[in-house]
Amino acid sequence: MNFTLSKRARGISFGLIVLGIAATVVGILGDHTDHHQHTWAALLVNGFFFFGIGLGALFFFALQNATETAWSVLLKRVFEGLFSYLKWGWIPLVLVFIGGSLHMNHIYHWMDHSLYHAYMVGEGHEAQYVDEAVQGAVANPNYDSIMAGKKAFLNIPFFWIRTIAYLATFVFFAGWFRKQSLQMDKETGDSLVKRMLLNYKRSALFLVFFAVFSSILSWDWIMSIDAHWFSTLFGWYTFSGMWVSAMISAVILVLYLKRKGYLPQVSNSHIHDLGKWVFAISFLWSYLYFSQFMLIWYSNIPEEVTYFQDRINNHPWLMWGTFFINFAVPMVLLMSRDAKRNPRFLIFVGSLIFFGHWMDVMMMVMPGSLGHHFHGIGLLDVGMFLGFLGLFMYTVLNTLTKAPLLVVNHPYLDESVHHQI
């Protein structure tokens, strides 16, 4: 059975997009930060959050292939829908990076090349920056020895090489998996099994790339906003946030589809399993969030602890609120078996955590890029969030209409239909 996009869903998606654009325009007019930094930062927050959902879905899809998991075969198309957002979800991110490279925004402080050289010849805009004390050179007041030490990694050309490598890999694999999945619908017998094994191998390959890229992209795109600071747990922390946001989106999407009468074979057992994933990955996220905080709090080294001092002193509601919503809420509310099998309850808790992880991305990006100009979640942030949400919903639902919502042929389809826990 094919999914048809109802008039109402289309109306809501477009309504959200229009609302988002309107709020963004009003927000930009009221954005008095230097270089409209707030607008750029909000673009990064929302671009990254929704890109992360697509990426988490792609990761989970590949994980299911690589582990040859049977129960989730019924839900394959749902994840394909979610990761279809990747095919152009990269655009807002690249816009922010282009803006940074051209010095239209200063989210990435390290993109300023004057930081890297100890000496300068001349003054103002005509200044030439040099590393040696040549004739007529004076000490460069902007020189930052910490940043100069990171120059081998944090420089604009290498940043772009890495960014293009990640995005090309993700977009390529997203397209390839989708094509393979549609191809499987047309095959039976030996060729079907062969294609499943091919998917199995390619998924394992993708996971290797993903393991490296998901860590490094979080350093490049997010951690380098606070370029003096570093945390070895940051990659995992960002990744677990992406993953749990993707699982929440999947739960909400599956429940929406079921309510509309689609996916009749998806039983309480499948919903229960998705709920378990949300519960488990919430714990993974909390574990990493707390480990990162606790180690830095405990050792209390000045160059590390500034990151959290800024957040605890200036934005405590963001720092602790995020942790409370994303840890305590799923722990208390999703612990029991009945809660994970109750659609209304799952949607309620899921929406809360979904917002909580958006707040988490806010906390990663905003204090570093806006400094003391960051006064909390404002119209611009929420407006852009709604706009992106509409865009995301429309892309995902539109992809779902393109193919049968239930895979036609899969060696594990029967096992998935009879999944019972």
């Binding site: 707390f290 905080f293 606790m294 709090w297 405990y298 050792s299 209390n300 612990m335 019972q420």
Partner: protein
């Protein structure tokens, strides 16, 4: 009349499930099933009440958390105030992050051990306890349904066995007890 217990031996868990379904749909109460591994989906068929092991596990976990907090408060705050990470704050809430890993570990420790021991006691399978399964083959490759006539007064032994014969049963054993 002596009570009879009937053991219907199957070679496949799916066949056992079909057999159990047939018995239950004819109003016969299945006492228990014996198998080398857990059979998914048998509980609702033979009407096993939901396990309360999860609740027990939660209680054990909470006990662990409380004991850990109490212990650390007594040792590191009350009895001998400790300087934690250069923070001699001497208050439980101020040093709390440092205590969380221990709380977490002790919660897991108590929940896991408590749950395992409860499970073994409840199933009467603590080390050294005599085996209670009726047929040693149920630990190898046979799947057995146990029906007691004492639970099924409306059905004769013959009626139950003849009903079982219509299912793909491997053998049927009867025993008096």
């Amino acid at each position: 009349m002596a009570n009879t217990v009937i053991y219907a031996v199957y070679e496949d868990p799916e066949q056992l499930k079909d057999g159990a379904r047939k018995l239950v749909s004819n109003g016969i109460k299945v006492k228990d099933t014996w198998s080398p591994f857990p059979i998914h989906g048998i509980d609702p068929i033979i009407g096993v009440t939901r396990t309360r092991l999860a609740i027990a596990s939660f209680m054990f976990g909470i006990t662990g958390t409380c004991l850990a907090v109490l212990g650390m408060w007594y040792m590191n705050i009350f009895d001998w105030p400790m300087n934690i990470g250069g923070k001699p704050s001497q208050a439980l809430y101020k040093n709390f992050p440092a205590f969380v890993p221990v709380m977490f570990e002790f919660t897991v420790f108590c929940a896991a051990h408590g749950m395992s021991i409860t499970y073994l006691i409840r199933n009467k399978t603590l080390p050294g306890m005599p085996a209670r399964n009726p047929d040693p083959r149920s630990t190898d490759d046979k799947f057995i349904i146990e029906v007691r006539t004492a639970d099924n007064h409306g059905h004769s032994t013959e009626a139950i066995t003849s009903l079982l014969r219509t299912t793909p049963v491997f053998e049927i054993n009867e025993r008096q007890y």
